[in-house]
């Protein structure tokens, strides 16, 4: 049922992404165990929390990027009405990217690291990532240039991936000054998730909504322009909400505070337009699970990134919550709500087509979706409770770090419990995606 032969390359990207997704969540569970129990010194010496966290976050970025790239390769031929520019480049790029990711994870186990949180990959491997990214951007750009028809989604996608690749460079140099180091660290982290990745998400969501609902392209593209415009308007200066406490001029409090407080706006618009397009659909609902995922993405994106981000973005609040478990709560809800669900929307859109299935049996997938979503809401809320408690104990009652953490132990164990449920939801979803079958009539 795929319309272009070259769409097949997406299969390997999506498959690898799903495997890394499982590894990422399993590692998350291990981190929760580190929090909830006292581990023997001998174990901590050989496999520290720091190493496990580097694997947890890097596999997260790796599977999401693989999903983005595979997703792009799947939708580009349809959007451009032609085959990909080069299938060989697509495979070569996957090989380099996957090889680098595996080497990096093994390297972490032996202490080979750049030592920057989330950007632990050592510089020599960074160069390989850059090569893979350049190949990808070139392949996407050539496919679009050679297309007979131009569309907004095409160039929005290209802008997103180019922006994404360029920003990665700011995480590579060694800065002598910690302050400047973190200034540019946020160019990668913040401008990715609240800039480049949002462009990409908006473009892919728009494409899939057009394909699935059959709503007129012109209408969807208008929304796309307004949403991405607002994303970048609020998101670029909104980077300032990370610069309150690094040693910066006072005006950052105002610029960062006001712009980042507006960041939920475009996400709210996304909820609105998704809901309207689904209501005014012209196509019948073939696979209800895909529609559930599309609506789930919009709502959870708003909850995790929008609401939970807004709660602690203003400087007077952030003074107390910065660097506490509240950040952890927001991080989990936002990454799951915005980017894990986006990837799963892409997977549930692409995988049936790659397997030539029109209507798939979705029973296990439905269980997977609701298990993951419910467990993640609990995980987010529990981290939030732990964070409020930590803030109160450490920064209001003035107890030491250790005393505060010991009083949070119940909540760490609760997170471990819901983390295990979340993992079971992930395994159900991944198994379901790998073994999609035609629905019985």
């Amino acid at each position: 049922m795929i319309r272009y032969e070259s769409q097949k390359v997406a299969r390997y990207y999506l498959g690898l992404a799903l495997i890394l997704f499982c590894l990422q969540v399993a590692m998350g569970l291990w981190l929760a165990i580190n929090y909830a129990f006292t581990l023997p010194q001998g174990l901590v010496d050989v496999f520290s929390f720091a190493t496990a966290r580097a694997i947890h976050t890097n596999t997260l970025v790796a599977w999401m990027l693989l999903g983005f790239m595979g997703g792009s390769y799947f939708i580009l031929p349809i959007e451009c009405k032609r085959e990909l520019f080069s299938v060989k480049i697509a495979y070569l790029q996957l090989l380099i990217f996957a090889g680098t990711a595996v080497t990096a994870v093994i390297g972490f186990l032996f202490g080979w690291t750049q030592g920057k949180p989330l950007l632990e990959i050592p510089v020599p491997l960074d160069f390989l990532i850059v090569v893979a990214a350049l190949l990808f951007v070139a392949n996407v750009a050539m496919t679009i240039i050679l297309a007979k028809e131009r569309s907004i989604i095409q160039w929005m996608l290209l802008a997103g991936v180019t922006f994404l690749a360029v920003l990665y460079l700011f995480g590579m140099p060694f800065f002598k000054d910690l302050n400047v180091d973190y200034y540019y660290w946020w160019w990668v982290i913040h401008l990715w998730v609240e800039g480049a990745w949002e462009l990409f998400t908006a473009a892919i969501a728009a494409f899939i909504i057009i394909e699935v609902t059959g709503v007129e392209r012109k209408v969807v593209e208008k929304w796309l322009y307004v949403e991405t415009g607002l994303f970048l308007f609020t998101g670029l200066v909104g980077t300032g909400h990370h610069y309150y406490w690094i040693g910066s001029p006072d005006y950052w409090l105002w610029w960062g505070g006001i712009f980042s407080a507006l960041e939920p706006l475009p996400v709210a618009l996304m909820v609105l337009d998704t809901w309207m397009h689904i209501r005014e659909r012209k196509n019948p609902i073939v696979n209800p699970l895909l529609w559930t995922y599309i609506m789930g993405l919009a709502l959870f994106h708003f909850l995790g990134a929008g609401v939970f981000g807004f709660i602690h973005t203003l400087p007077p609040v952030n003074y107390y919550t910065h660097g506490s478990q509240i950040t952890v709560s927001h991080g989990h809800l936002a990454f799951f709500g915005a980017y894990a669900l986006l990837n799963l929307v892409v997977f549930y859109f692409a995988m049936p087509q790659l397997k030539g299935i029109e209507k798939f049996d979705d029973r296990l997938g439905v269980w997977g979706f609701w298990t993951m979503v419910t467990a993640m809401i609990f995980i987010g809320l529990i981290f939030g409770v732990a964070g409020v408690l930590q803030t109160y104990l450490e920064r209001i009652l003035d107890l030491g770090y250790r005393t505060a953490q010991m009083n949070m132990m119940f909540w760490f164990r609760a997170v471990l419990f819901f983390g295990a449920i979340f993992l079971s939801g992930v395994l159900m979803t991944v198994y379901h995606l790998f073994t999609l079958k035609k629905a019985a009539d």
């Binding site: 006292t38 901590v44 010496d45 929390f49 720091a50 030592g115 910690l178 200034y183 208008k222 950040t327």
Partner: protein
């Protein structure tokens, strides 16, 4: 709304925000040296920063509030812990946190690396970041007070500043390696042996859990006098 209006909104929003952001970035570079005291970044600070990266400290600890949340924030650690305590912890975490509910890995940090790390953390502590984190402000204030009145410095300040990471003195310090009052009662060393013990515990008492201390001979002498005076005090009282 027409498609053209939507397109205008996109470009207006993106470009205005990009221009403001780039201008703020330019201004940040102009003003940042004043906040971060960049003139004080010397080779040793840079070497210390490399140690910070080499052992991936930042994936358990936060610094400036960024990083892992598994261990305390290090922005003002220099004021909270003091030089000798940081070195002891970094080089011998398995001893310092023997009874702790959460462990720090033994990373094999060398003496030289630990010293550089302290210099780096000392510089980080001087960054003017609006008194964040709030919970460490009391340590910064206490440090500044001691610094301003060095001549009036109480002996207990010197001793607990160097030994308080493990030892306690009544209500001060950590209760890991015993209270100085009990130690004073127990030991039978003279001053020279005690000074030797502080610098190299194994040479005096093989098998002891105490790691070597990185204090100057003068400080070691002050510490020894103090501990021995506790002993005398107790005997006189009796």
């Amino acid at each position: 709304m027409t498609g053209k209006t939507a397109k205008t909104i996109f470009w207006l929003g993106t470009l205005s925000s990009a221009i403001i952001f780039l201008w703020l970035t330019y201004d940040f570079h102009q003003q940042e040296p004043k906040f971060a005291k960049t003139d004080q970044i010397n080779d040793q600070v840079v070497a210390g920063k490399k140690v910070w990266h080499k052992y991936n400290c930042n994936d358990c600890h936060t610094i400036l509030g960024f990083g892992g949340y598994y261990a305390p924030d290090m922005t003002k650690a220099y004021y909270r812990l003091g030089e000798n305590n940081i070195i002891s912890i970094v080089m011998n975490p398995e001893l310092v946190y023997k009874d702790s509910f959460r462990k720090m890995p033994h990373l094999g940090v060398t003496k030289e690396e630990a010293v550089n790390l302290v210099v780096f953390l000392k510089w980080v502590g001087t960054i003017e970041n609006r008194h964040w984190p709030p919970q460490d402000e009391k340590f910064v204030k206490a440090f500044r007070l001691r610094e301003a009145n060095a001549q009036k410095l109480d002996k207990t300040d010197i001793i607990m500043g160097a030994c308080g990471g493990c030892h306690s003195l009544e209500t001060l310090g950590r209760k890991i390696a015993g209270d100085f009052n009990d130690i004073a009662k127990r030991i039978s060393y003279d001053k020279d042996t005690l000074v030797k013990y502080i610098h190299d515990p194994q040479s005096v008492k093989p098998g002891t859990a105490m790691p070597p201390q990185n204090v100057s001979p003068e400080t070691a002498a002050i510490i020894s006098d103090f501990i021995l005076s506790l002993k005398a005090g107790k005997e006189v009282q009796k």
